[in-house]
Symmetry: C2
Subunit: 282 residues, 2 copies
């Protein structure tokens, strides 16, 4: 099968992957309220960027297209962790968002208690999916290690804590970069690095550079979009700290750096990862 | 070293294990609010029953006393998961408890947002500790699988959801047994079965029976203690459903069944697991 670019890759993989996600949770979770609350957010129309990046790296590293479904458990685990983080992030004493992607936030639909538990359930189930994957024990263990490191209190959870406790303080550019790295980039980096490991590759510094760049670029693009919509006036974001124009320059520099990094990579086909950068031009 | 019984085992292991837990988190977690909130609940004076059961099973299965420290990461992971569950359990929209073991609940000390994140951090770090343990990859992967299964939405999280959504309904004895199995027994069973796996044993049905019995016995003992203190009048508990006396009979029957089960076990030294049953006579 010919895959033209990252967008084409997603078009060809997503329907199958989405069905997998939905069916797996439907089958596994017997507690009905919990299953409903978990599926509500998992099926809320996310673009699946993180699992698609994971699968794209695995594919670019030599995994055959028809074998990609063997990697769905781990791709799914990454999406479960992302979904849990959004549910807890939206809670009243966190970011206090009533809506997410035009739908009621999980806690507005099910209540705060069930939303906390839906998040807890998604996070824990992610590690179960990795443990039950058919990949080799070494690959699964690498996935557990990288995901728990980057999504936990040494990564994403730390960033989230800084975010909610520093809301009233103005952060420096360095502090803000650390916050974004932990809160957003670390999970994206995990998706990419676990993709390389799962396909049997050692990590290259170029790939890590690419991952870190696009992780931070993600946050900048999100904050620029929110600034365009007139949101986030008091939040610690780059548009608020250095202005929209300089943030756009910073985003462009990150994409350029990511491109340079991936072009130095010799271990795999660069086409998908290069074309992924179009995401930031949309 | 001579170990007289379970209590003696705890006396000899706990100081070293507690120091390990505290130092490990102190070193790993750089975000200060997160570290403080995680350590606050981890160091809140819990009896460490679950990690001690895990270590006792490993020791009874043939692990030398001086080698037990190699098992601390996994014992610690089990305690991290237990601690996370208590923090989230105490939240206002869950059990709404302002105090735990005579100290302010985590969310009363740090706020609801930080308490949610402290729980998230402890849960995720548990899997990191397992991944970084020095035990064989197969043993670590079994620990990830059993822990995520029993503590997640197919176990503890499911029980917790039933608990908070069924508060106003009167459950049947069978429904209440399922709730307690999931909410309380599954994590205790995980501690015991991971202990056997970690020491290189296959699971015996006798050990699983013992684990399930004491898991349920735990909840009954807790509910009987709370009933004595005049608490929990409207909760779904066995003392409220079938009365104190019948609950005491049920507890005695569970302990007897656990004893019979463990006495049939031939794979390891039974002394510690038999003497653990004294816990329910205190």
């Amino acid at each position: 099968m010919e895959i033209k670019n990252f967008s084409d890759f997603c078009t060809k993989v997503l329907p199958d992957f989405n069905q997998f996600l939905d069916q797996k949770l439907q089958t596994e979770i017997k507690q009905t309220t919990l299953r409903d609350a978990m599926l509500y957010s998992l099926d809320a129309g996310g673009k699946r960027v993180r699992p698609m990046l994971f699968l794209a790296v695995a594919y670019s590293s030599g995994v055959k297209f028809d074998d990609l479904s063997k990697y769905y458990d781990i791709a799914g685990a990454i999406e479960l962790v992302h979904t849990y983080s959004l549910i807890h992030d939206d809670l009243p004493e966190m970011d206090d968002s009533d809506y997410r992607r035009g739908k009621l936030a999980n806690h507005k639909k099910f209540g705060v208690g069930p939303a906390v538990l839906a998040g807890d359930g998604l996070l824990t189930q992610a590690f179960y999916w990795i443990a039950k994957s058919s990949l080799s024990t070494d690959k699964r263990m690498a996935a557990v290690r990288i995901l728990s490191h980057n999504a936990g209190p040494m990564g994403m959870v730390a960033g989230q804590m800084t975010d909610i406790t520093m809301e009233d303080k103005i952060l420096s550019e360095a502090e803000l970069t650390t916050l974004h790295k932990e809160k957003t980039a670390d999970l994206i980096t995990a998706a990419i690095t676990i993709g390389a490991f799962s396909a049997g590759h050692e990590l290259s510094t170029h790939l890590v550079q690419y991952a870190n760049d696009i992780g931070l670029a993600f946050q900048l693009k999100d904050d620029l979009n929110d600034a365009d919509d007139g949101e986030d006036d008091n939040k610690n974001t780059f548009p608020n700290l250095i202005g929209k124009e300089k943030t756009e320059e910073k985003l462009a520099a990150l994409i350029k750096d990511a491109l340079n990094a991936v072009l130095k990579e010799n271990e795999f086909d660069k086409n998908l990862l290069v074309s992924f950068l179009d995401y930031f031009k949309e």
